[in-house]
Amino acid sequence: MSYATACNSPAVQTFDLSRKFGDLIAVDAADLSIQEGELFSLLGPNGAGKTTAIKMLCCLLRPSSGTATVMGRDIRQDPMGVKQIIDVSPQETAIAEHLNARENLSLIGGIHGLAKEKVKERSEELLEMVGLARRAKEQVRTFSGGMKRRLSIAMALVSDPQVLFLDEPTLGLDPQSRRGIWEHIAGLKGKKTIVLTTHYLEEADALADRIGIIDEGKIVALGTPQQLKENVSDMRVMVLRAKNLAADAIEGLKRIYPELKVTNEGIEITARELSFYDIVDYLRPRGVTIQSMSLKQPTLDDVFLHLTGKELRE
């Protein structure tokens, strides 16, 4: 079952969901509706409010105001009911270091009340799925970061939850391990309702049916990756590689084109109207040697820059 063919009943729905920490509003009146079978990604920079939102939905944090339902169960009124149908793979690798992989899976299955035979059967399937079957009897403190993260995701699946929360599942992993995790998550699409938080654009773009962009606690945009990119389809992104690109030249250009970001190789300028000649005329007198200029399709990074005025990796 793909998201497109999924039924329309909301698996997760939030109603003005907010959480404050003193004067800081971590999540600000979030209204979301996530459909059953959908893979929904909350995309935002560190400190945007993603984890706070997930913690409220998992009944670990009490909302300051508003509420949410998970498969129709209210997180305020029926937290135990919510906990029976969800599981979570937290941002930090939350595993028992002195247990082996199989024992970790048995533990989570057991505390969710699964019968021993069922846990055994599920564990074997999941160990196979995440490629840890051969290391199942080793204490997990000997595992690499990527292996621990794969086990953490398998642990979140052992209870066969109706709604799965994955909080930054590939944070801090090398690109190869990240791709491996993506494959496992992609394999779950349509089978489970998945809420995934990430600050990696590529991750949200590659995996999500829909994306909610969150910044300073507010949902600033919502839609499929394609819809979000279409919002900036009339924008043009110029990639400029240059030598002697001094800070004052960049600052000057930023005054003309506010959506400018500095990359490893040069700068990228996003704007509805771009003039090659104007840019060249501005940079040349300032001693900048332009090596190449090209146009590219807007990415989610450009969407984020356009919506929030800042880069996602800031």
Binding site: V88, A94, I95, E103
Partner: protein, 246 residues
């Protein structure tokens, strides 16, 4: 019975850590032998006799257990393992049981090893099983209470803080528990503090039973220790409830 799986995990984490188990059992034994040897050198047959030392050292060992149990819980909390468990359908009672039951075999091991080594060093056990059982029960309640106090520390502090506070409690038990020094002889505020805490009561009650006192003679001390144990677990339960939804 979902707590059983978590209790099994906690037990495995503990028994698979040789340093932890070595310290939990080894330190009390080392102190017992050292102070017994000191007593022989000094010729002190009062506070450093085995009859006085063994119950005191057993309680001293619980203070280390207190620190270790607190550190395990604090580590789980810091490392996101506890938050993961808190998203499972477990209640405060499940957490209390799963973070305390695995320590009971360690408490029993500490008592048995301390008295076993004590007997080897010349300790005379009470002649009847009732007195032996009473000593065991007093120390067991104190051991469980120490685990409860460790749980409170683990729920309130991070690993480094638990280590610091735990060390302070170990020092407090050593100085004001009446293990090596007669609290009454010290008197004053030190006596009052030591007497207000459960450790000196547990040691005093166990010593009295060792020399023939019955439950009637030590009932106040025993209930003092029991009261503290129940209080520690009540506070632990409230703290778990608080940690479950912040």
């Amino acid at each position: 019975m979902r707590f059983v799986e978590l209790a099994k995990r906690n037990s495995r984490e503990m028994w698979r850590d040789p340093v932890y188990m070595g310290l939990a059992i080894g330190i009390p034994v080392a102190f017992l032998v050292i102070f017994w040897a000191l007593g022989r050198n000094i010729g002190d047959q009062s506070f450093l006799s085995t009859a006085m030392l063994v119950p005191g050292i057993a309680v001293f060992g619980f203070a280390f257990l207190l620190m270790f149990s607190g550190m395990m819980l604090a580590r789980d909390r810091e490392g996101a393992f506890l938050p993961r468990l808190l998203t499972a359908p477990l209640g405060p009672r499940d957490f209390i049981l799963s973070y305390s039951l695995p320590y009971i075999p360690v408490v029993i091991s500490q008592i048995v090893v301390c008295f076993g080594v004590g007997v080897f060093l010349g300790l005379e056990m009470p002649g009847d099983a009732v007195h032996v059982l009473l000593v065991f029960v007093i120390l067991l309640v104190m051991g469980i209470g120490s685990v409860g106090l460790g749980m409170i520390l683990g729920l309130l502090f991070n690993v480094n803080q638990v280590s610091g506070v735990g060390s302070a409690i170990i020092a407090l038990v050593a100085l004001l528990g009446g293990i090596w020094i007669d609290l009454e002889a010290i008197g004053g505020v030190f006596y009052d503090i030591g007497n207000a805490l459960p450790f000196a009561h547990a040691i005093g009650a166990a010593r009295d039973v060792m020399v023939g006192a019955g439950l009637d003679g030590i009932s106040m001390d025993f209930y003092w220790v029991l009261g503290y144990t129940l209080l520690f677990f009540a506070i632990g339960s409230l703290l778990f409830r608080w940690r479950m939804v912040e």
